[in-house]
Every structure is written in C-alpha cells, then in structure tokens.
C-alpha cells in the first residue's frame, strides 16, 4: 500500500509540471552551496505571490505551478538547470540572485524566446545588456543605492566630504561606488580619498591607516561591500576609533550580523522595504507577516522582496498581453512606467530592464538597533552611460 501511494505521489509529482492547463514557472536557483542563502528567501517570496494569484483565480484563468532545479551555486550547473526546466515545460524562468550565477540559465531561456527574471541581481548586465531582450531583474540597480546614499547624506546629514572604500571582489560593489562617485560630486560634495580591499582580506589595517592619515575625518565613508567582508571592515573601522557615518548598499541589510560590531551606530543602509516592522507602507509589513507564516521566521534581509515584486509585475504583464509568449510579455513589461507594487513604483523600458531610480527606505543603525529614518528617491535617474561604466 505504502509503495503504491509513493508511486502515485511520484507519478503525480512528475506529471504536475506537464499538465497542459497550468502555467509553469521554473526556478533555476541555488538550493545548496553559498548562494542558497540569497536565492531561497527571494524564491520563497515569489511563491507567496504565486499562491496569492492562484487563490484569486489564477492567471489567464489557469493555475500557476512551479518547478525547480538546483544550480548548486555553480555556474556550469546553472545552464543545465535552466535547460532541464525548459525541457520540463517551464513557461518562464526565474534565475539566481547573482548575475554571474543566474546568467547561464537566463541565456538558456533567452535562446527559447522565453522570459527570464533574476531574483535580485543589481548589475546592469542582468537584463538586455548581458542576457538579451527578454531578460529582467526585479531588484534596484546597485548604482541607484550608491547614488541614494550620496544624495541623502548630503541633504539630510549635511555631508560634505566623502571617502570611498571599495571591495573589488564582485561587480555589485563596483556598481554601488559608481553610483556614489557619480552623485556625490554632482551634488556638491568632495571625495577626499579612496581605497580598495578584498572581501576575504584577513585584515584591512593598512586601509584604516590611510583613512586615519587624512587631515580631517571624512563626514561619510561609502563602503561598497557585502557580508562577511563588510561586517569585518566595519568592525575594524569602528575599533580604530573612526566615527564617520558609514554608508552602504542594500547587501548589508539585516540585523543578523550586527553582533560583529557590538553597539554599532552611524551606519546607513538603503533598502527596498523594511524588515523591522516599521516600514511606512502597510503592504510591506503585511508581506513580512505572510513570509513569517510561510517559513516560520521573518525575512532576514530585504532581499526577499524582489521575488514578490517580480511575480507581481510578470503576472500583470501576462494578463495584459493575454499570452505567455516571451516577446509579447516583454512588450507589456516595457510599457510599465511607475507601475505600483507593494514595494514602490517600478518602470521598465526598451533600453533598461532594471530600476535606474527607486524609492528607497533609509535604515539607520543606532546603538545596534536598526530603524527606518526616512525614504529617498534620487532627483535624477542614473544615466545609462554611468551604469555601463
């Protein structure tokens, strides 16, 4: 009996993606390896939106089902995961957070003329520029985060001098610093120095020596890095007695690493929404609670949110196009200008499948406690030539 049930369950499980009446969303994401921590929350959020759509009658009158294949945080596996899902009948692909790891699967979708969405890639290449005309990213470009930090710190904290500390390990970091470098001088600030380090460096003592050698402590330090390197840099900067306001990209969001620098203050993170329950928009907190219901814990960082946004936008575009055809859905997505979502308005164009401007919540960590201190939208969208630098 047990065997029979197992066999039936297996058969149903295998048959489910092939059912003609359903719409299949394929997740070619990391279910194991280091990237899993970034892919799983966003994928969970995407599935929450899928469940909501199904509960409201589905998409084009059909239910959405999902299949997944593990990329094992490996670029070569990403391509085969993508191909496997396409073979199994996926109608669109959702790929890993990171451009380098999501692109092989996205390229597989592109070659079939299918839509692909990066879960939370923030490099301009994750879209038209690096994959092709039917590829999108649901997140906000890294350069927008850096530019937001530059403009906000000057307007709200009267910052005049800035120091740029770039972790050269990944492209995302360079994107943040590019945005800061573009906006800070343009808004009248002066960059008084810059330095680089690597995420895995055992010590950044010589970088700190250079900051301390400045005649005056800079008002802000733009730290373009991610956890764990960022946490380690902050610990060392604060321990050395440097009290400048530290600006960051969204990648350091989440309070899980704050123990690395006990009692941290003057640390700013721009995010798409607050995980701390104090977001001014009720829809964000409603999502946080839905996420907690689905997984047993609140999101650990704001990187869950783009997953929800991407299904929301894609489903709207499919509904408007009346078809799942990649090119038709792309055309509808590109018509979106200031399309409302739970996490703020989103726009796409035939030049850019990314957000080159977005409303960001500013989270400040004071005495080890994060809280939203305002929201900011940059005055000018980041131009394409800056993004492609």
């Amino acid at each position: 009996m047990k065997t029979f049930l197992t066999t039936t369950a297996l058969a149903l499980g295998l048959a489910a993606p092939a059912m003609a009446d359903d719409i299949t969303v394929g997740f070619a994401i990391a279910q194991s390896g280091w990237l899993e921590a970034y892919d799983t929350p966003a994928a969970t959020a995407a599935r929450i939106r899928i469940d909501e759509i199904n509960a409201n009658g589905g998409l084009l009158g059909k239910q959405i089902v999902w299949t997944q294949a593990d990329t094992k945080s490996d670029q070569a596996q990403s391509a085969s995961a993508g191909l496997q899902l396409i073979d199994e009948g996926a109608d669109m692909l959702i790929v890993s957070c990171d451009y380098d790891f999501g692109a092989p699967a996205a390229l597989a979708a592109e070659s079939e003329g299918m839509n692909s969405f990066f879960l939370c890639a923030e490099d301009v290449k994750a879209g038209i520029q690096g994959v092709g005309p039917n590829s999108f990213s649901a997140s906000v470009l890294a350069a927008v985060q850096g530019a937001t930090m530059a403009e906000w710190s000057m307007a709200q904290r009267e910052a005049k001098t800035g120091y740029v500390l770039l972790d050269t390990t990944i492209e995302y970091n360079k994107g943040i610093c590019t945005g800061f470098d573009w906006m800070f001088p343009a808004a009248g600030g002066e960059i008084v120095g810059r330095d680089t380090f690597k995420n895995g460096d055992a010590s950044i003592a010589s970088q700190i020596t250079r900051i301390k050698a400045l005649s005056e402590e800079p008002d802000v330090i733009m730290l373009c890095s991610y956890i764990p390197g960022a946490a380690s840099a902050v610990r060392q900067i604060r321990a050395a007695g440097i009290n400048s306001l530290i600006l960051n990209g969204s990648a350091v969001d989440g309070s899980y690493w704050l123990d690395a620098t006990p009692d941290l203050s003057g640390f700013i993170v721009p995010v798409q929404g607050s995980i701390y329950g104090d977001d001014p928009r009720p829809a964000v907190e409603a999502f946080n609670q839905a996420y907690e219901k689905a997984t047993g814990s609140r999101p650990a960082s704001s990187y869950a949110y783009p997953g929800y946004v991407l299904i929301d936008l894609w489903a709207k575009a499919v509904e408007r196009a009346g078809t799942l055809d990649g090119a038709a859905v792309t055309a509808e997505l590109e018509k979106m200008q200031g399309e409302e979502t739970a996490f703020g308005p989103r726009s796409f164009s035939d030049q850019l499948h990314h957000q080159n401007s977005a409303e960001m919540q500013i989270v400040e960590i004071s005495s080890g406690t994060p809280a939203v201190v305002g929201s900011w939208t940059i005055s000018t969208p980041v131009p394409l030539d800056v993004l492609l630098k």
């Binding site: 194991s32 390896g33 280091w34 990237l35 899993e36 921590a37 945080s73 770039l166 050269t168 810059r194 330095d195 680089t196 380090f197 690597k198 895995g200 460096d201 055992a202 010590s203 003592a205 010589s206 970088q207 020596t209 250079r210 301390k212 050698a213 956890i227 764990p228 946490a231 380690s232 610990r235 060392q236 321990a239 050395a240 007695g241 989440g254 309070s255 899980y256 690493w257 704050l258 123990d259 690395a260 620098t261 006990p262 814990s297 650990a300």
Partner: protein, 304 residues
C-alpha cells in the same frame, strides 16, 4: 616615524597570521609529504565551533561564551582532535600512496568538511563577537595598534619559539625532525611513525585553531569559505619558504604579509585592486630565482 611604525605593525601582524597558518601546513608536509589543502577548512571548523549549530541567521554563542581561560585551550584541543581524526580516518590509508593522491584526498576532505558546515550552519555568513575589546587601538611608538595586533605578534613569536624548543629539546621533536629528513630511515631506527604523524597533525590542528581565534576576533564573522584564501597564502608561503622547512614557512609567511601591506600602502589607486596580482608576480619571480625556496633546508635537495 609614526607612519613607519604603523606600517611595521600592520605588516608584522598580518604576516603573523600567515606564518601560523603556513607553519600548520609545513609541519605535515615535513613528516609525510602531504600538502594538506583541508587546513583552511580546519580553520573554518574551529570558527564555527564557537557558535550553536543552527541554520538561523542570528548566531548564538556556544563555545564562544566560555571565558578565555577555558575557551583558548578548548578550541586548541578541538582543532587538534579534528586534525587527528582526519589523519586517522583519511590520511592513514594513504601512507604509501604518492603525494598527488594524498593531495587530492586532502581536497576531498576539505570539500566534505565545508559541505558539512554548510549543511549544519547554512550558507549565510554569521556574526560572532569574540573579545571585541581587543580591537581597541593603543598607542605604541607613534602608531595606533589594536591590542589584537600585538597579541598576534607575540603569540606568533611564542608559538614559533615553543615549536623550536619542542623540536630541539624533546624526544617527539627529535623524532619529527628525523622523520622530516628521512622517514624510512627514521622508522628503521625505531622512530614510531604513528606517534610522529599524529603528533604533527595535532600541532597543525591546534595552529589552525589559533588562526581561527585571531581571524574571528579581527573580523567578527564566520563564513564557510573563510579558510580558503588564508590557506592559499599559507601554502604559497610554505612553497617559497622551501617545502618542509619550518623556519622557512614562518619567515615566508611574515614576508608575504609584509609585502602585501606594503603594496596596499604604496601602489597607486588604479593598481591597488591588482595588489594580489603584484604579490603573486613577486612569488613567481622568487621561484624562478630560487626554485627550491628562499630558505630551503640543505637536506631537501635530492641527493644522488
């Protein structure tokens, strides 16, 4: 004056970490010609032993809660046990295998440890606040030096002189030196192979634990991949120090740390992202000029 002193302390403290890691690799290479690529994972293992096993994003201190007097010996012993276990379970079966097979086995072991940590702790990096007050700078000779940097420098000197004493003055030390020189001959003369090799692994594991404590105090984070980069530097240090030469590994560890800090300090900004490329170019030059390593022991040359 202040700048020179600052550079000196930055260089020596980074070099000290590298030297300790290199020593751990050189010890094992000396007795059994094994380049243990799992050494970086021993370091990561010791770091994670500080926190409660869980895939939750927020880390809860486990061993890390203990007072320093308990924590330090406990972690050193744990590192030693980890290394001894891996010797017993894996490397003992490769005694007669050629060094390439052993090296591959060490890669495989490293992979198993890393994935074990991933499975138990999840892939998100964790924050660990171990002795944060040690990062507070104090004023020495015109430079601001975090207390930890001084501790690293002193600890490295203590470890190196302690090891030198052990190797020179004790029976096991004598046996290790004999084994490093000519393992077969040493065995024929009554040196107990298992004791010597297990002893070398225990010391190597304890050194990995020491590096782990320094790294975690300095950076405040635990990441499953954190041992990889330091392992690479340490391995290179053992190569340019002269494979199997313990003083060579220590000297080369300090040298790499110093050169790395000097490059970071004096390279122009545009070239600074390529610091490691410059560093490794110097390593290549070093090896072209002295393929046997800078401080090779005379007996490492093939004798005809």
């Amino acid at each position: 004056m202040g700048t020179v002193a600052q550079l000196f302390f930055d260089a020596v403290s980074l070099g000290g970490i590298y030297a300790m890691a290199a020593l751990g690799i050189a010890l094992i290479f000396g007795v059994m010609n094994l380049v243990n690529f799992a050494h970086g994972e021993y370091i990561a293992f010791c770091v994670f032993a500080l926190i409660v096993p869980s895939t939750d994003a927020v880390a809860v201190m486990f061993l890390g809660k203990a007072p320093a007097l308990v924590l330090i010996p406990a972690l050193l012993i744990l590192g030693a046990l980890m290394a001894m276990t891996s010797e017993y379970v894996v490397f003992r079966h490769f005694r007669r295998a050629d060094p390439v097979a052993m090296m591959i086995a060490s890669f495989a072991l490293g992979f198993v440890i890393q994935n074990g940590l991933l499975a138990i702790y999840g892939s998100r990096p964790k924050a660990i606040s171990l002795w944060p007050s040690l990062n507070t700078p104090i004023h020495v000779a015109g430079a601001d030096v975090p207390l930890l940097q001084l501790i690293v420098i002193i600890a490295t000197l203590l470890v190196v002189s302690g090891l030198a004493l052990l190797l020179k003055k004790t029976r096991i030390g004598l046996e290790m030196r004999a084994a490093a020189e000519n393992f077969t001959m040493a065995r024929m003369l009554g040196v107990r192979a298992n004791v010597v090799i297990t002893g070398a692994f225990a010391l190597s594991g304890a050194l990995a634990a020491a590096v782990a404590m320094i790294m975690v105090t300095q950076t405040g984070v635990a990441d499953v991949r954190m041992g990889g980069s330091i392992m690479l530097v340490a391995f290179i240090a053992t190569v340019i120090g002269g494979m199997g030469s313990l003083p060579g590994a220590v000297a080369a560890g300090f040298l790499i740390g110093a050169v790395s800090v000097l490059l970071q300090a004096f390279l122009p900004l545009d070239a600074r992202p390529f610091r490691d490329a410059f560093l490794y170019t110097l390593v290549i030059v070093c090896l072209l000029l002295r393929p046997q390593g800078l401080f090779a022991s005379p007996n490492s040359k093939p004798r005809v």
